[in-house]
Amino acid sequence: MDLNEYNPPKEIHVGMADMKVAQAPIVLTSLGLGSCVGIVLYYAKTQIGGLAHIMLPDVDLVKNRTNRAKFANTAIPDLLEKLEKMGAERRFIKAKIMGGAHMFGFAKTNKVFNVGIRNIEKVKDILKDLRIRLVAEDVGGSYGRSLYFYLSTGEVRVRTINHGERII
C-alpha cells in the first residue's frame, strides 16, 4: 500500500425512506433529518452495519405500504434480517438512534401530532421487541441533523447547523 496516497473512506448516501447495509471502511450517511429517525445497527466483530432512514412510525396506519423502508415497524426488522444474512449475531448487534426532532408547527397547535416523538417511541419499542440493545441516542429538539456512520468504529457523527457536532 502506498502510504502517500490517502483514500478517504467511501461514503454511501441513504436517502429518505431508504436503508443500506455495508462493511468497513464504508461510511453510511444520511443528510438533513428533521422528524425522520435514523437507526443504525452495528455488528462489531465483522464491522458490518446498516442505516435506515424512516419517516413514519407505523405501516399499519397508512394505505400506501409499498416502501417498507419508510416505516419503523417494517424497516428495522428488514434491516436486522439483512445483517443476520450477512452473518451478524443478533445478541451482539448494537443500535443507535438519531433524529426525531419536532420541527416547529403552525401556531404550535399540533403538540399531539408530534411525529418526531412518535417515531422515537415506536423505534424504541421495536428495538425492545427484537431484543436489540440501544446503546446511544441523539434525538428530539427542533433542529435538523446529518449523520455519518463509520463502519470501521461503529461511531456516528451527528452534525447540526446551530446545535454543534457530536460523536455518539
Binding site: 429518505m16 438533513g32 428533521g34
Partner: protein, 208 residues
C-alpha cells in the same frame, strides 16, 4: 398517491411562465410600495420537480436554508414555500430594513422583515394564480424556518402530511438598485389540487 410524471406541453409551460412573471410583477409592485423604492422581480425559470428533489434544487439536503412556509387554504389546498440561501436572506433583510448587509446570523428584525416580505409575495402569487385559474387560494400566516433543506422537506412531507409528490418551482430574482437576491418559490399542491390547477391552466390556454 400521485405517482405519474407531470409533463407540460410547450404552450402550458409558456403560460405558466407568463403567469409566474405576472405574479412576480404584482409582488414587486407591492414590495416597492411598502418600501417606497423600486424593486424589480422576474422569474427566469419554471419547473416541476419531485418533492424529494427539493433539497437538491437548493444545494443539498444539509444546506442551510431560510424558508418562509405557508399553508394554502381554499379549493386547491397545499403549501407555499419561499427559500433563500443564508446570504441571500441576509441581503434581502438588508434591502427591506434599509441597512447594508452584515455578516452573521439573522436577527429577530431580519426574520420579521423576511416573513413580511414572504407574506406579500405569497399573497401576490396566489392572487394572480387564483385570477388565472379561477380557483380560490388563501395563504395562512407565515412560519419561518432556518435549518437544513432536508429537515425542511421532511417537515413538509411528514408534519404537514402533504400527499403530493411534485412541487412547482418558480425561480425568482429580486433586484433593487444595487443588489439582487435569488429566491426559490415553491408551490406544493395536494394531489387533487395539482390536477385542478393544471386543468384550469389548460382550459385557460385553450380558451384564449
Amino acid at each position: 398517491m400521485l405517482n405519474k410524471k407531470i409533463t407540460l406541453n410547450a404552450q402550458e409551460k409558456d403560460l405558466l411562465k407568463e403567469i409566474a412573471n405576472i405574479c412576480a410583477g404584482n409582488a414587486a409592485t407591492s414590495l416597492s410600495q411598502l418600501l417606497s423604492k423600486k424593486i424589480e422581480m422576474n422569474v427566469p425559470n419554471v419547473h416541476f420537480i419531485p418533492i424529494a428533489e427539493v433539497p437538491k434544487a437548493v444545494g443539498g439536503a444539509d444546506t442551510l436554508v431560510v424558508s418562509v412556509v405557508f399553508q394554502v387554504f381554499g379549493a386547491a389546498p397545499g403549501i407555499v414555500l419561499l427559500l433563500f440561501s443564508q446570504s441571500d436572506a441576509k441581503t434581502l433583510a438588508g434591502i427591506l430594513n434599509g441597512e447594508t448587509a452584515r455578516n452573521g446570523l439573522l436577527t429577530e428584525m431580519d426574520q420579521s422583515a423576511i416573513k413580511e416580505a414572504g407574506s406579500i409575495l405569497a399573497a401576490a402569487y396566489l392572487n394572480t394564480l387564483s385570477a388565472v385559474t379561477k380557483i380560490g387560494l388563501i395563504p395562512s400566516t407565515p412560519g419561518i424556518f432556518i435549518d437544513m433543506a432536508g429537515a425542511l422537506v421532511d417537515y413538509i412531507l411528514i408534519e404537514l402530511s402533504a400527499v403530493t409528490e411534485y412541487a412547482l418551482l418558480l425561480d425568482s430574482v429580486f433586484v433593487d438598485a444595487e443588489k439582487s437576491v435569488q429566491g426559490h418559490f415553491f408551490l406544493l399542491p395536494n394531489s387533487g389540487s395539482f390536477e385542478l390547477i393544471l386543468k384550469a391552466i389548460g382550459e385557460s390556454v385553450n380558451g384564449s
